[in-house]
């Protein structure tokens, strides 16, 4: 817990103790409010010694610098998990089925098309299409799929993940750049930041030893950004990581963003342990608010921070709007991955708008590039 001296006291006569920790936080705040950029050690010190309301004030300051209007955006889109077959066996995942499993699937095109039609009928403009590392699906499968989706429906395709792209490249004997060029030419518009987990190999070796390394993840994003594609970045914290790993993650994203400017948004959520091999406890919404605030404070070069109502529920997601989040994500028609690991929250567009208005913001639909569309 925080040392007593680190708490705010209401008046100077009330014995505000100038401990070393308090002085550190004060110095960080002075630098922050003076427009300075915060360091790795600053992130660690804020997590341990700043109080919740200080983090809220700082995060809200960055949010208002970037988004002066009291608007919270969201997108009407649909998650489509084209396959659940995956050989990587990440210990934090409850969604995958290994190759050969009777429960493995690849969605037939007509099922996938029906899902898109349902989404379009509800005013949706984007599909988020992700699956697993399925050894049977080479680049031709994706080229055909994306082309046919574009031809029929013209929706925005926000799809795949770094792991899937690396695996498609490997299976198809292509470089990462060739792979992304071909996928893009066939209709892939943007790439979600899924699979970022924690960008520290010390953690990745434990929770996903067969998955891409930190440098590989960042390398694929760098290539995509270099080709002019926009992507998001994510973080899944709270499995075996320490705060040092999380701050390292944020700063690796910030460094790449300094170089490419390709990330549209950052989304953090906590590890959902139900049904996973890794098991363990779930961190609380209190910690989520702290992590959202730290993300907003440290990622001064990423425009948007998305709230994760799917993992946190409406109450904490709504409160995160005061901890740096300016986007409420997607009105999901379905979500299968974190739901498999115990996240059971559900919200339709009306409820999502109500949550945003109730917190004092105007809800606005957006596209994948975070431009308002209504």
């Amino acid at each position: 817990m925080l040392p007593v001296a680190s708490r705010l006291r209401f008046s100077s006569g009330d014995g505000m103790m100038q401990s070393a920790e308090r002085s550190k936080v004060q110095a960080i705040c002075d630098r922050f409010y003076g427009g300075g950029r915060l360091t790795f050690q600053d992130g660690i010190d804020l997590f341990h010694h700043a109080n919740l309301l200080e983090l809220s004030q700082m995060a809200d300051t960055v949010r208002r610098r970037k988004h002066a209007d009291p608007v919270v955006t969201y997108i009407v889109s649909r998650n489509i998990n084209y396959t659940n077959v995956c050989w990587v066996r990440c210990s934090f995942c409850a969604f995958y089925r290994p190759p050969g499993s009777e429960e493995g699937y690849v969605l037939p095109k007509e099922v996938l098309f029906r899902k898109i039609e349902e989404m379009k009928a509800a005013g949706g403009i984007e599909i988020l299409i992700q699956g697993g590392l399925n050894p049977k699906l080479k680049i031709e499968y994706f080229e055909d799929l994306f082309r046919s989706i574009k031809e029929r429906y013209g929706v925005h395709i926000h799809g795949l993940s770094v792991s899937e792209i690396l695996y498609i490249a490997h299976l198809s004997h292509l470089t990462v750049e060739e792979t992304i060029r071909r996928l893009r030419a066939s209709g892939l518009d943007t790439i979600p930041g899924a699979g970022g987990e924690i960008l520290s190999d010390e953690v990745r070796k434990v929770i996903a030893p067969l998955k891409d390394t930190t440098d590989e993840w960042l390398g694929v994003m760098r290539v995509a950004h270099g080709l002019g594609m926009r992507t998001t970045a994510t973080m899944m914290y709270g499995s075996v990581d320490r705060i040092e790993h999380r701050i390292e993650h944020l700063l690796r994203v910030r460094d790449l963003q300094d170089q490419t400017g390709g990330f549209t948004a950052f989304i953090a959520w906590n590890y959902q342990p139900v049904g996973t091999e890794l098991r363990g406890a779930k961190t609380t919404g209190f910690e989520y608010l702290k992590m959202t605030a730290l993300s907003r404070i440290l990622l001064d070069n990423v425009d948007n921070i998305q709230a994760s109502w799917v993992t946190q529920g409406a109450e904490i997601a709504q409160l995160s709007l005061r901890y740096g989040a300016n986007d409420f994500g997607s009105t999901m028609f379905e979500e299968n991955v974190v739901r498999a690991a115990g996240a059971t929250f559900c919200m339709d567009e009306t409820e999502l708008q109500r949550q945003i208005r109730d917190a004092g913001y105007e809800p606005r639909r957006r596209n994948t590039y975070y431009q308002h569309v209504n």
Binding site: M1, L2, V4, R7, L8, R9, F10, S11, S12, D14, M16, Q26, C29, Y33, N51, L52, L53, E54, S56, Q57, D60, P70, T284, G285, F286, E287, Y288, L289, Q312, G313, A314, E315, I316, Q318, L319, R322, R354, Q355, D358, A359, G360
Partner: protein, 271 residues
């Protein structure tokens, strides 16, 4: 004024000095607090009062809840004989239930839900000294005259809340027996039980009810995460925690949650 308070933006900044001085806020100030969208500044102001009164301490207590005679024997059997805590009783014929409970589990201290003043003498005779109930039923004066202590539930209204809060304050100033107020948003009456509204009600209650010692953000109502956050928006009390074996969350879990929220957990007993 500390730096976090100094950063409160213009429309609430002038209230900081009055809050810090412990003054009774007037109706207009209460309305401004209620109507603001700036939940962070509300939190900063409310937390200032909370820490001035309680520092880092956050209280909770073991509790056995019993609704009516049918539940009594089973409930009493569900807790360890020596377990200290509070027996929260509601329903009919409460004096008899209190007597029976005291025979079987003398370590449990009774608190009863009171809705009518005429019940009070019999409850007093049965040894009850602690009541809980809504402020509206006019029992506070009778309770004060008989020497009871009381906790109030504040039914948060749909519109502006200042008037009902100021009425609570007037009641407390006249009959200073009120130890704790629990803001209660009734989900059936108001379709907006949100994280935001729950924290706003707690913060504004803390700010407008400066002389009532405790504001409750109950873990059983708010859930674990919002309860933790509420301890920074004016609440200093996490409420009752089930003593029943296997009850969720248990006492140890609540201690852990409060520590993780940067507070010092303290299990307390009434009376």
């Amino acid at each position: 004024m500390d730096t976090i308070t100094a950063r409160i933006p213009g429309d609430l900044a002038d209230l900081a000095a009055a809050v810090a001085a412990g003054e009774h806020l007037d109706r207009e100030a209460c309305l401004r607090l209620w109507r603001t969208n700036d939940l962070t500044s509300l939190g900063v102001l409310a937390n200032g009062v909370r820490e001035r009164l309680h520092g880092d301490r956050a209280v909770f207590r073991g509790e056995l809840r019993v609704k009516g005679a049918n539940e009594l024997e089973g409930a009493l059997a569900s807790v360890r004989e020596a377990a200290p805590g509070e027996l929260f009783l509601e329903g009919d014929d409460l004096p008899r239930l209190v007597q029976r409970a005291r025979e079987v589990r003398p370590n449990l201290r009774p608190r009863v839900r009171c809705t009518a003043a005429e019940e009070l003498p019999r409850l007093h005779d049965a040894g009850v000294r602690h009541l809980v109930g809504p402020a509206e039923h006019g029992w506070i004066e009778a309770a004060a005259r008989l020497g009871f202590r009381a906790e109030l539930t504040w039914s948060v209204p749909t519109g502006d809340a200042a008037d009902t809060l100021l009425e609570l304050r007037r009641l407390s100033d006249t009959w200073p027996i009120i130890d704790c107020v629990t803001p209660a948003i009734a989900p059936l009456e108001i379709a907006d039980v949100t994280g935001y509204n729950q924290l706003r009600a707690i913060a504004v209650a803390r700010l407008c009810l400066g002389r009532i010692p405790h504001i409750r953000g109950a873990v059983q109502v708010l859930g674990e995460s919002v309860m933790q956050v509420a301890q920074w928006y004016g609440a200093d009390d996490a409420g009752g925690v089930s003593l029943v074996t296997g009850g969720q969350p248990g006492l140890e879990r609540v201690r852990e949650l409060l520590r993780a929220a940067g507070r010092e957990p303290a299990e307390v007993l009434i009376g």
